[in-house]
Symmetry: C2
Subunit: 306 residues, 2 copies
């Protein structure tokens, strides 16, 4: 099938190409570890061409849309944040054109928000996924878990505001580099334990003192309250539980959608169901990004074309 649009989700630690067909269907994805942080000497064009160069043909070059840290100060070209509230159309005037060996490409801006106390927050990449699942009417809560989890309130297709939680990054640091790493079994990562995960979720729901509860990973091991193979799941439950307890305290009404790979989405649904939120939709992040790229592309054609 002919390539109608190429989407590129270029984050700090990962580069992903999405080949999209004429009706917006996702035809193919390609992954590389050449995230923005790993590209040497600003060789972004070489990395991009290596990943998706053969998707372009002499007869016709598909348009390319890029999102993520590629638009940050450390990326290919800095694109200022679009302040929220913002709908997809608000991003069109800020598309930044860059010339590449694969043809012209456009970088999508990230979004920024500021809470009542003046604390700023930013997003780069997840806005495209969120616009992929946004409905034109009604309220939604979009959750994109990961290294930095994003919780976005969406209304009538516009992102009203969002919060970032450092859940995934703190998990990795504690799992791999902390004194807690010693007590956790190294096999735990491949076999999550629902009971231990939910114990962690419930403890942080009752008690927001995360700095204190984290030490209980160690004592649960010391006193055999949990088997060592379950301690990583318990840690995950403490962190995801803390994020979810905070996020649900702030939530607007409306449909909840988790944008994540199946294994991670399962944990978020499990924790939210335990808190009484059982109507939670899930979508893979790549599928959501493909929808977002396609919507922006369609909107741009109505507007003035890229």
């Amino acid at each position: 099938v002919e390539t109608a649009l190429i989407g590129v989700d270029w984050g700090t630690s990962r580069l992903r190409g999405l080949r999209i067909g004429p009706t917006g269907e996702l035809l193919e994805t390609r992954d590389s570890t050449l995230g923005v942080a790993l590209v040497q000497d600003r060789a972004f064009d070489v990395a991009l061409h290596k990943l998706i160069g053969d998707w372009q043909t002499r007869e016709g070059r598909a348009p390319i849309l890029m999102c993520g840290m590629v638009g940050s100060r450390q990326g290919w070209h800095e694109v200022p944040y679009v302040p929220c509230p913002a709908g997809l159309a608000d991003f069109l005037p800020h598309l930044k054109r860059v010339e590449t060996a694969c043809g012209p490409a456009h970088i999508i801006a990230g979004a920024s928000t500021k809470d009542a106390r003046g604390i700023h927050d930013v997003i780069r990449g997840e806005e495209t996924q969120i616009f992929g699942i946004a409905t034109s009417t009604g309220r939604q809560l979009a959750i994109a878990p990961g290294t930095h989890s994003k919780w976005a309130r969406v209304e009538n297709g516009r992102i009203l505001g969002f919060q970032t939680y450092m859940t995934g990054e703190i998990y990795s640091l504690l799992r791999e580099r902390s004194t807690l790493a010693w007590v956790m079994s190294s096999t735990a990562e491949t076999s999550p334990v629902d009971g231990a995960f939910l114990l962690g979720v419930r403890r942080t729901r009752e008690d927001p003192d995360l700095l204190r509860l984290l030490f209980s990973v160690r004592t649960c091991g010391l006193f055999d309250d949990l088997p060592s193979a379950a301690l990583a799941s318990y840690l995950s439950g403490l962190l995801i539980g803390s994020e979810i307890a905070s996020g649900l305290r702030r939530r607007a009404s409306g449909q909840i959608t988790v944008i994540a790979p199946a294994a991670l989405a399962y944990l978020y649904r499990l924790a939210m169901s335990d808190a009484g939120y059982s109507d939670v939709a899930c979508i893979d992040a790549t599928a959501a990004a493909a929808l977002g790229f396609w919507r922006l592309w369609e909107l741009s054609r109505q507007w003035e074309g890229l």
Copy 2:
């Protein structure tokens, strides 16, 4: 002056010797990085002899008391925890004698506690510092900040219970190994900024969502809300502020004492004063440990001698 007692505070990452005189005065201290985690092939005796061997003479060998992780499973000899509530006398029957090249030594047990929800907590080393500052009557709150901060409630000289906060370890991980490290100036460590520290303290006092607030270290840098040289202090304020807000919520009435080096004690007093607690005493951790070793030694002589 003659050596009457040698105290050894042997933690995970540090080994410290205390030479104590006939009236309990601290005569000399020696430090080494040979913490329990760094001792190879269980060569504890060699490390101890290297540190304090010359403090012993042929004419007379001073008794040696050791506390800390040296009594853990990874240490010289495992000594089971004494469950709280516990006074100093409760530790006497559990002193573990080990023979060393410097003469016989005794390892002091750590303490354990369990909260209303069944969550265990443990301490090894700080119990000796806490007994050093404990008064025979009245209520006290003893705070020993550090890699793992300990908050202990003391009544009539007995430790009723305590909590551990992973404040210092999480600070180091975020300061050195996280995506936040990129935005923090490397000079910040030597020059704490009180204003930025207090901003962090206040934000966590109003809002316990630490996982979310941590990301504001990055956005404060991105949006120039704080100079990059102040961001490490802001991070420190978020973490210490979170610990203090939690600890003060649980506190019993009574005198508050911070057991820490002067620079760290200054930050804890600043944060607690900002929360309305201005009557906070401070003592150096080594001075507190010397008092604790001496008290235990005196008590043991009344009892049956070591």
